[in-house]
């Protein structure tokens, strides 16, 4: 996958986690090819975008990370990730991360990418299966648990 497409997402994850939720995310290694099945850490959000090319960003994180994100954004402690406000916070985070990254891509490469509303899900031992499109992942660690970015594109710049 073209590095020009994936790097803005990595940068946006780090920046927006810090800026919105005051969470330091430390990158581990480099992007790697993802297998078809991603075993979720517990809370996931997928956002799709389309324009001259199509793509999808998956953010996946431990429950504690999601709870801290929500707490830091909303200044309220939640007990469960199933609280609608926690899931709304993750949804908005994904929206902002994606929006920031694709703004850079649009300005640089005139891709005309537009976001669709994100979906968020949480569950026990959830597996996300993403065949038909090659994707790459990048792992972060945070003080509260793990955070994964998985990006997929159909087409290139």
């Amino acid at each position: 996958m073209d590095i020009k497409l994936k790097n803005p997402f990595m940068a946006s994850v780090k920046q927006m986690l810090k800026q919105m939720a005051s969470i330091e995310a430390t990158g581990n290694g480099d992007f790697y090819d993802e297998k078809e099945d991603v075993v979720s850490y517990g809370v996931s959000s997928i956002i799709s975008f389309s324009g001259r090319i199509k793509g999808r960003l998956l953010l996946d994180m431990h429950r504690e990370v999601a709870l801290h994100i929500a707490e830091n954004i909303i200044s309220t402690r939640y007990e469960t990730v199933k609280d609608p406000m926690v899931l709304a916070a993750i949804s908005e985070l994904n929206n902002i991360i994606s929006g920031d990254a694709i703004t850079k891509l649009n300005n640089e490469y005139s891709l005309g990418l537009r976001l669709a509303p994100p979906i968020v899900f949480t569950g026990k031992d959830t597996v996300i299966c993403i065949p038909k499109i090659a994707s790459e992942s990048f792992d972060f660690t945070t003080p509260h648990g793990n955070f994964k970015l998985n990006i997929a594109f159909e087409g290139g710049v």
């Binding site: 078809e36 199509k54 899900f121 959830t126 996300i128 038909k132």
Partner: protein, 157 residues
Amino acid sequence: MLSDNYTDLLKYFSIAIEEVVHTMAGFEISASKDPSFFLRDDSPRISGLMLLPSSKNAILSITVSLESASILVSYMTGIPVDELKEEDLYDGVIELVNMIAGRAKSLLIDTTHSFGLTAPFAIYGRDYELVLKKNVSNLSKKYVSGDLEIGFGIFFM
């Protein structure tokens, strides 16, 4: 309350799901009058999802229990139920959603409704909850045929 415009669109998706399941797996399914949805319990299930980008973005979703997935995929592929692997089930459900979206798109070709197709994906687990960004018009139906139950949803954003 969905407008007539949406109702018309949804009719074609309903035709698509019935046709695809019949063609691929040989089942005549019909919409259940029972509004209760098995998704409320804790049993493992698989959801196949596809974003349909258009002026009104939509998400298409098909959800089945593990048992229903096994039945469907066994009939689709000819592989006996006890020889099916988990990946076969994800792949099968993903294929179904892919075909339903494709069929609906072709049924709608002479109408004012048009949408794109994107790479489908699946979520597998127990007790997961999907949360969409907010306030979407949607149709959720349960289709049945004997022991087979298929949850169908289309969420307009």
